[in-house]
Symmetry: C2
Subunit: 364 residues, 2 copies
């Protein structure tokens, strides 16, 4: 698979691949997973060392690693660690632990389907190989997934940016960049590619409460690439769309239903409605691993609700009486509000069930 | 005027007036103005003592006092302090200082027209009275404005809540409550009145970045009145409107143009567009002092841009490279998106130039 996808890149793309940006949130070294602690970006660039499956699960739950593609790949490595750490047990016991750990990883966060997809891929790999080859096969599968994600991002960047016209003003929400993936990014990949092709004039970043992935992570990425940008509060999106005549809203996805409905960071649906009103176009960029072929439409996507305290200032969090916060962290954008869906297998206008099924045909 | 407005209240309203809520952001005592420092609510209830016009101007600029009606009344008292403090000067000099101070107060914040309205009222009072009566007249004028604002809020609460049906789910943005006025509130006055009439089932409060007036101030007010409420991030408004089938969005105003366009906290326009899409109704509640008869439409309202650092976490504020924030603190909602405008002089559906002119006829 790796070779097939790599063959898609032309020379221009290869060049791009050489002078890659430096942000790598996931590193696999000598049977340890190192995850960049994204909670303290931009103040600190600390990697958390994960030497067990539980370490990775906790890191996913606690937002050390976030972004659908990134948690998918981290989940794959978690399965490698699970197998490595049970080496003293009987073969039977190891299998039991592996399958129990698979379930733990699947449940670490509910909305992004990439996590389930990655774990399922690892479990299938596990079931296919002989017992003496399990470790090597799992490690190879995880590393392949890691590399394919990065390659897919470059492909999506190239495909998506072709929809932009020169001097476009774009807006993005949350962080669907290098931090959210294995590098380069999905929505931010399109923006980086569009910037390098001189199709983009300026990027407006919504800060993205409550975790501020926009003002902390996306701003850090665009700054490091010298891409012209501004940060705004989430609620300024409507007035900025109007005053700046925004051309495109470009976001990632945590799960895409068969009919094209998209689950993504809370506020994405709001931007889609506002874009519709202001005649800005709306682009979703995500790997085909984010498409859930078990999910008919957005109504069946499980929406994660995190602790309401995440909305409060640290000084207010102890006050029991203040905890009247509702904290859904994703919302559903109906396919009807999406102009373009970009995947590594191709980009489609006005996504619907038929077109999405066609995209998946080519998934290995 | 005080007597006329008071006469409007029926017995039920009087009762309401007796068991008033306790939040009073502005207190005038023995020639000093005490302003509740709203930046540290709910942690602390500290009053800042202002003994000069400059003290008040600084308090307005630094958000110690905020909310269009509240800064209007604070501005009126600033003019009293200006006069008191120049008592050692010649009559000519005092007048010069007074008019210079008037200009300073007018410019403290640009968007809310109440500040200009209050200062103009004080300057007119000053010009009308004999020199030996200036202090008494100014103090009386400011105290009358203070009392009328509170009475007007009860009137608006009663008028506005009559538009609600039983078991309404409402959403409000920022704080247009007791904290933003002299007590009770404009939009929150309608919500408090609606709750007491059992027309409201639940209130959704947008946290309102960057100053969190929703989660800090509005939540504090509703909690103290035991009104059922939840706090959400600003960007969750669209998905909550859809999932909860919100009936009404109820907000205040900083300036209303002659044609009915409304300047209010950044994000209000966003909510109006989202309400339109979700068929929720949109109500603006503000005293007639917020109507600017010199302003034809929203395009001519000056929008305040505050320091971009307000968007950043304290730990990020020192990093020069991070300051790519654009921080408009108000936006314009076109009249076409407003279903009801409530003032102390009456409430109108689908506000337009003719109806607004009629409302102003009765302003003294």
């Amino acid at each position: 698979l790796f070779i097939i996808i790599e063959a898609l890149f032309d020379k221009k793309q290869r060049k791009c691949f050489l002078d890659i940006d430096e942000i790598r949130p996931i590193k696999w070294q000598t049977e340890k997973l190192f995850l960049l602690d994204q909670r303290s970006i931009p103040e600190n660039n600390n990697y958390v060392e994960c030497s067990s499956c539980d370490d990775v699960v906790d890191s996913i739950k606690n937002m050390i690693v976030r972004g659908a593609p990134a948690i998918g790949v981290a989940g794959a490595y978690a399965m490698v660690l699970s197998w490595i750490n049970s080496h003293g047990e009987s073969q039977n016991e190891r299998q039991k632990i592996f399958l129990l750990d698979a379930e733990k990883v699947r449940l670490a966060r509910p909305t992004a389907v990439n996590l389930q997809w990655a774990v399922n891929t690892m479990v299938e790999t596990f079931k296919k190989v002989k017992s003496e080859c399990v470790k090597t096969s799992l490690e190879h599968a995880a590393v392949a997934m890691h590399r394919e994600d990065l390659l897919g991002n470059y492909k999506m960047g190239d495909l998506g940016s072709e929809f932009l016209e020169s001097d476009s003003k774009v807006m993005t929400h949350c962080n669907a960049g290098a931090f959210a993936t294995t590098g380069y990014g999905t929505a931010l990949g399109v923006i980086k590619s569009g910037w390098s092709k001189k199709f983009i004039k300026h990027v407006f970043i919504t800060e993205t409460r409550p975790w501020l992935q926009g003002s902390r992570l996306t701003a850090t990425e665009l700054r490091s690439e010298n891409i012209s940008h501004s940060i705004i509060v989430d609620s300024a999106a409507a007035s900025v769309m109007k005053s700046e005549k925004i051309d495109w809203i470009i976001i990632g996805a945590d799960r895409i239903a068969k009919n094209g409905d998209v689950a993504n960071k809370i506020g994405s649906y709001s931007l889609a409605v506002l874009a519709n009103f202001h005649r800005a176009k709306f682009m979703v960029v995500a790997p085909t691993s984010s498409i859930d072929s078990n999910c008919d439409d957005g109504a069946t996507v499980p929406i994660e609700y995190r602790d309401g305290k995440e909305l409060l200032r640290p000084s207010d969090r102890d006050k029991e009486s203040l905890n009247f916060c509702i904290n859904p962290v994703f919302d559903i954008t109906p396919a009807a509000l999406i102009d373009v869906l970009v995947t590594e297998n191709g980009a489609i206008r006005n996504p619907d069930q038929r077109k999405i099924a066609a995209l998946l045909k080519y998934r290995c």
